[in-house]
Symmetry: D2
Subunit: 364 residues, 4 copies
């Protein structure tokens, strides 16, 4: 079950960068839920390539066809029918010849070598195969659908670029992030503070000029989650989100609430005091990131995800020739994002939304 | 399946802090593997309480009884027989009256409130119930057994305290950590640099004096892992380790290889160049932490885990009275670790060893 | 996950016939459910050995100790607390020397040979090890607890001996079995028609005299199940019950509703007509056994399970010597049931109750 | 995970009878395996409708498009690449108006009513939606691919019609079925004895004339399976095959080896004696159906599956009107198989092949 996640709601992802199609099967969606195709398309465009010069020029219409799991509603929308929903996205703009060298010269920081070992050389090397960032498009179909359902239950998932290189955006307000979340809806470049976004763009542009790439951090928040979701130990909300988020290519770390900062904190600082607000128990700070003992507290769920710089850079790099078993130089050609972080914001939201939706299916 | 993890090797954990017993069932161990009870006991003592003044004075003989899954070997050792192995640890030193207030006054940063909501007030509140750090003892049984089996396959798992508060230990050498790992075997207090350990002890002692607690970071390394373990997307080694590690109470973050630092790095810095050493393909740096595309590269697996400060502190704290639905003050009595990090080192090793052992069962 | 079953409610079974203990961990029970230990003990006695001369004389007090997952209620009962419940049953009356020959001479129709191959000779051969019928005692703990919870929800699970050898008991009324179910509560030997029970006892006694054994069929019914439980295709109620029931040693077949008889029926005979009774949609016959498309219809769930004759017979049998790799004769000594079917009735109920309880956890 | 099965090899099925497409995702296939599209098409034609007058006249080209998981080999064949394989089959010949009445008048013995309850009326009623027998086409893609891989490992899966109505075909030789299996390869109508096939055809034709339908039994055998596959208790070969086979619509029973006949047998009859043949341990009879303790013995795996008569018959039937909440008559129009058993033979083989392939992935 390598490319499947979820428990009562499962998402099974298929496809390679240059296969006929990519897509996913979502099994366990509640029946009778409306899916607005325009809203879904708009969500997917947030990760689509070729939108601006900060991302790869590859042009693809990532229009998913929902081949099953829905019936047509009366106003052009789709309605889930309880059957597994399969979304198929055709791959159209494939220039496979760009990748000829890869079979012999594994690209540093890519899965070329490990896939070669695991699959005995039978892996699809074109465009990174099943390990391509392109496989995050189906994740966005699943997450975009779950987001629509969650919104109707009062649950919102939103993310922004927390940092790129050394440039840091303002953090989410861990108690009341709602105004920031609404603001992000209006942004082309998803930062809370637009000036920080401009600085980030400049960093990315500078990396492109240097034939290099840059990493970043995405921060995600979920509001409106009822208390009591998640189970102890290995089925907690943190375990489930982490287990899913590491499925996004290039992720190297995740932290919840105060995250790694807790290591420097004293208990008296870190412990979030309880109080009562409008008759409801809340905490006055949110170092716990909305999760205690793996279970939601009703405070916003907050976490941050570290993305490594795009491995594909045009600079000359050291690798080995598999055929000659000797050191070699590699210069990657083709089209590559100098920074995948802006496009990955929607992907983090998507994966998170499916995990929350899965947790919601067992609520009584 | 809240308290179960693993795929082909599963560990099912049971017990509460003050139930008759705690323990685990390990299903899927290979048959014919020897378990040295002395080595297991020694490993478990690394997390046992009451060993020194840096941890809780609760005295417990964490001697697990292996009630199934083994037969007796000819030299007093146990031999796995293919059946599920159940280890039972009796709870003996339970002073339950210490916890009388908790039912009404949930402790900040504990799972008291979320458990109250999830279980409708039926949760076992004594000593934190199933959410207690005591439940890491069964994890150490499982991990201690897996470590013995892995060692015979040339795979070693080792961890140290990377930081407590602001004090940082030397990091593992990400390429050749073996000498450091051997050194750690000889340490009572698991730091690579003994002086750093002394400083950490001073920080912990100072927190105890202040009726406070402190967090920290544990760094773990695994050597000898063959290339090709793990599967793409959601069954990768990072997903599996993260999904399991968040099962350890108090964990708030995890990062692999260069971790969150990758966010500030350029591709040209982060990409680990391939080269050939003794006829084998290796990388000359290890920012990828031994995992590319979710699959092991044969380089050491390295990751760091952030632990929050022990929530139980003697200082007065703000909480709410569930019965009166109003704010209240709480002063926790009883015995508590000012810092659980030293004891958690063995737990991180244990959880990691079971995940690696699980991955090894599908190797062909 | 060999000895684990269930999805949101899992039962992990451990132990060997002659290990220190056997038992199970039940993860996912709802919190706040009362468990009456007397009722549980009474249920377990229905499968206990040594009760009458129709079963093995092995004397064991199958008193499970609930070492976790419960707190003590005010009237001596236990109350589930949401944590995994572990039940431990000590093995006391082990006469291991009876089984000395088995290691070399695999018993026909037992798992001796297949276990030898699978575990490379490291399996626990004493008393059949993990493959022993004794492992059904923990199943009865899990099922006995689930039965108590289900009863309070108006769901009853009941089974009887449908046949032993050529002797057939009256079948359950597939529409209104309630009176029969109540009757069975009063039976020492669980048949609907007592005379048939007497004839069955005579058959068993005759097999014992011949140093032989005999098989039989158990029929199980579940009433009060709400419509809509189960999921399409592979998570249907039939798939789940079948997947669990084959975990009971000696089961070789299962059929639902009209079962194998459907093969001889025409659609016009087999199709159960719908009608309305007291404002509720019901069927006027129940060939579908309460399940259509894998989903419950609210009609009684009915199925039958075929048990092979006890493989352990005292008659001389043909086998092979593993050490000499040649044909050999085997005469099994020791204590054996000439027919396990009477004791297995409770086991079938138990396994069914856990499956239904698991399905109920996802009801909204 | 309703429509997913398997453990290390999973098959996720999607689609409805009249959705844009149906298909499946197969995750966990070994890399480097060749798939001959001609052989696959030929296998699929064995279940395709409209082949002869014994089945529905619906005409569909069940040509699956393998949109992912493969690369193209040098001779027009496909080669698995380790990524999840998705097969898409377009639905073309949909005459949806045939099914207008169903929303109000649930068809007896169909899932119409239970789906209505489960999905709150949002299910896709056209052609039975996700519950349609059409969903067995994707199962045949998965199974057809697994069969090709298994054949290269010396493992063959073959099935025949064991009975239709009262007409019984000769049974498989449980020890040496190979000659019969080869014979079946040449049959248009899969019976071992051609005359029995002719009689079955006559029975089916007679049912068609009467606007009725008829059930039957399919017997399946697997040869070449190594000893030691499967795990104890709930992960045994019987549990896995049964859990998957009940995913085929219309299945009401399954029995292994001597099956329900064991209930009438004595141990001395049922116990299969071990002997040595060509240096290998075998049994001289095969009442155990190749499985002991859930684990393969290397003898042929044999089981039989009971199929109910097609629920869709043209005869007038009693049902209820959901809108009026009163009794009603129903006369089903449209095209229906009077007997699905001949087409289901390939489906039983297919499901079995995927289960065996899944078991083979954990072999070391």
């Amino acid at each position: 079950m390598a490319s499947i996640y979820g428990k009562n709601l499962t998402v099974s992802v298929f496809g390679q960068s240059h296969s006929a199609a990519i897509g996913c099967v979502i099994d366990g969606l509640p029946a009778g839920e409306k899916i607005d195709p325009e809203v879904l398309t708009k969500f997917m465009q947030r990760r689509a390539p070729g939108q601006n010069r900060y991302s790869t020029p590859r042009q693809e219409k990532d229009r998913p066809e929902l081949v099953s799991g829905v019936t047509e509603g009366t106003n052009g929308e789709f309605v889930t029918c309880g059957a597994p929903l399969c979304a198929v996205i055709r791959n159209t703009d494939c220039r496979s010849k760009d990748y000829d060298k890869i079979r012999d010269l594994p690209r540093p920081a890519h899965a070329d070598l490990t896939a070669q070992i695991k699959y005995g050389g039978h892996q699809d090397v074109r465009g990174g195969g099943h390990f391509s960032g392109r496989l995050t498009a189906p994740l966005c179909v699943a997450g975009g659908i779950c987001k629509q359902i969650l919104e109707r239950k009062g649950i919102s998932v939103s993310a922004h670029i927390r940092s790129i290189g050394e440039v840091e955006d303002s953090p989410f307000d861990p108690i009341k992030p709602n105004a920031q979340m609404q603001l992000l809806d209006t942004r082309d470049f998803p930062t809370i503070t637009p000036e920080k976004g401009d600085q980030m763009k400049a960093v990315i542009e500078s990396c492109r000029m240097d034939q290099d790439s840059i990493g970043g951090v995405i921060e995600c928040v979920v509001t409106g989650v009822p208390a009591g979701l998640g189970d102890p130990m290995f089925d907690g909300v943190e375990n489930r989100i982490a287990g899913a988020v590491f499925g996004i290519p290039a992720v190297k770390g995740i932290e919840f609430g105060a995250g790694f900062e807790v290591a420097k904190m004293r208990g008296s600082e870190n412990n979030d005091p309880f109080t009562i607000e409008n008759g409801k128990i809340v905490t006055t700070s949110n170092n716990h990131g909305g999760i205690l003992g793996g279970i939601t507290s009703s405070m916003p769920i907050i976490f941050r995800v570290a993305f490594k710089p795009t491995p594909s850079i045009s600079k000359k790099q050291q690798t080995v020739s598999l055929s000659k078993n000797e050191s070699a130089e590699l210069q990657i050609e083709g089209r590559h994002d100098p920074c995948i972080v802006p496009r990955a914001v929607a992907v983090v939201e998507a994966v998170t939304a499916t995990v929350i939706m899965d947790l919601m299916t067992t609520i009584k």
